[in-house]
Symmetry: C2
């Protein structure tokens, strides 16, 4: 059974032709055209049609399209209500694509939720039926999976881990308007802020980036930490401790089989883990301190696999 | 359909004869005999048999027995693994009762979980299918209900709200061995500690209890607060703020339709609510700040109704 997958993020999009077992036959990545959403969807459709043609498929042979959207999605009608970074609102994505491609089954989902559904079907969901999913990237998002099902909550906001309060004493501001949120202290943004602060205060740390021949960033800081730079390691430890506080709240409430981490920052999960485990040890109810905390099994393509999974 | 219900708490027990619609025909309350659990179960059986006889029922007409137990329960076999306050461990409750009463269906459950099941079947579950349950009493326990089902977690510990960390800066010790837990700051124990502290420091507050003609306690402090005593009101405010922090974690993670509060301290929910709402306003993601926070519809008998519900 063939599936079309549109993984539309705030900055990049991947279009793929896949099957219901999660095999990817064709894929192409390109920047998300913010501003005109329908024109961007047109480009996605053209690429998918080219893929179908290349493999000698008629569009009727594609059983469904899964569409990840970088914002709040009304799933019933497949409407993108609001996507702040892309500047889109009130886009009838399902109706538009269904008519244009003449494919009845178009399933739209928030990209973070889709990651969790992808993990259930194609990733660690084979080992764990109840887990917390966290996307740690510029911000922090999440999803709650119980018995293989996504728990959506009364307004579709279940899994808003990014706005758990993890710092009451010296809280940093969060884009949500509040302070002390996990997104402000345990995200890529927080990592960059700490790197910026430390390079400003600490000439030796600044010099270490110069010796590496890279400008200060999360990726170059990770290299320094792996090379034994203690300041770099301490930055990951600190971000990890905040993530661990958020994970401890989740664990105390839901006693999950595992917590699975995706998103760009998760590539440095080994560097974050000492901090995460320190907080888990201090803040989690004794019997659950050792909950497995694992990177997604789907790596960089977790969201794309999610787009496939929601349409199966 | 007749149901027998044994609501066995750490200090008191209620035995009742009910039906599957939740109507209570007979009930009797008496102290829990800590020490010898099987002897205590014998007493429960004698009372239930007397009730059956009084109403002209044969034991075969009782379709099942629901048994709440004040500790950790292995539900499959109906074994009470450990009940710290009562001093019981490894009691094969289901096997013992099933044989003694010749009733095949004996369902055992942790008392806090049973409350949530009772609420689903006989209480606010008629209005809300996904909610958080909190028992606020000497300690703080809880349960997670999603789509009318109890989420139990990987080890049966889902809903351990009592050990959410709500105070990092000046944490108080918790019976679990950790510090800063909701159970240490937002419980009946915390209420009593604050009352004790303030009466020690504040002669006018001490005198207010004397004028009331009652010794300082949660109940008498509630009377003072209702009479306009500001110190008494501030104590409830403070306990409420900690409860609100815990509820904000729950809400951010699960986006529930409601949070339902039972347990002795919930009788003062109106006094706690200003503090709860203050924390919800400060710490909950904007779209969910107004989640309904309600007392159990089952009042003092929430746990007994739970014992009926689990056996239906």
């Amino acid at each position: 059974m063939y599936i079309g997958a549109f993984d539309i993020g705030g900055t990049k999009t991947i279009v793929a032709l896949a099957d219901d077992a999660g095999k990817i036959y064709e894929k192409q990545q390109f920047p998300t055209e913010t501003g005109d959403c329908l024109r961007h969807l047109d480009v996605c459709c053209e690429i998918l049609c080219r893929f179908a043609e290349k493999r000698g498929l008629r569009m009727e042979q594609i059983a469904g399209i899964g569409v990840n959207l970088p914002g709040i999605v009304e799933r019933g009608e497949g409407v993108l209500l609001r996507a702040v970074y892309a500047g889109w609102s009130q886009i009838p994505v399902r109706a538009y694509l269904s008519k244009k491609l003449r494919i009845a089954r178009v399933v739209c989902e928030n990209d973070v939720n889709a990651c969790a559904v992808g993990e259930v079907r194609f990733g660690l969901g084979k080992r764990f039926s109840s887990f917390g999913w966290m996307t740690v990237s510029t911000g922090v998002g999440g999803a709650v999976v119980s018995d293989g099902r996504l728990i959506r909550g009364a307004h579709g906001y279940a899994g808003e881990f990014g706005h758990l309060k993890v710092e009451y004493q010296k809280p940093c501001g969060c884009p949500c308007g509040e302070q002390g949120c996990l997104e402000a202290h345990g995200s890529g943004t927080a990592l960059n802020r700490l790197i910026e602060e430390r390079t400003r205060q600490d000439a030796a740390f600044r010099a270490a980036f110069d010796r590496l021949g890279e400008s200060p960033s999360g990726a170059s800081c990770a290299k320094l930490a792996k090379n034994g730079n203690e300041t770099a390691a301490a930055i990951f430890q600190q971000v990890g401790e905040y993530l661990g506080k958020g994970i401890s709240y989740y664990t105390n409430i839901l006693d999950p089989e595992a917590v699975i981490i995706g998103g760009g920052v998760s590539a440095s999960l080994d560097l974050l883990m000492p901090g995460i485990r320190r907080s888990m040890e201090r803040y989690t109810f004794a019997q659950m301190k050792d909950v497995p905390i694992l990177p997604t099994a789907l790596g960089y393509e977790a969201a794309l696999m999610g787009a496939v999974a929601i349409a199966v």
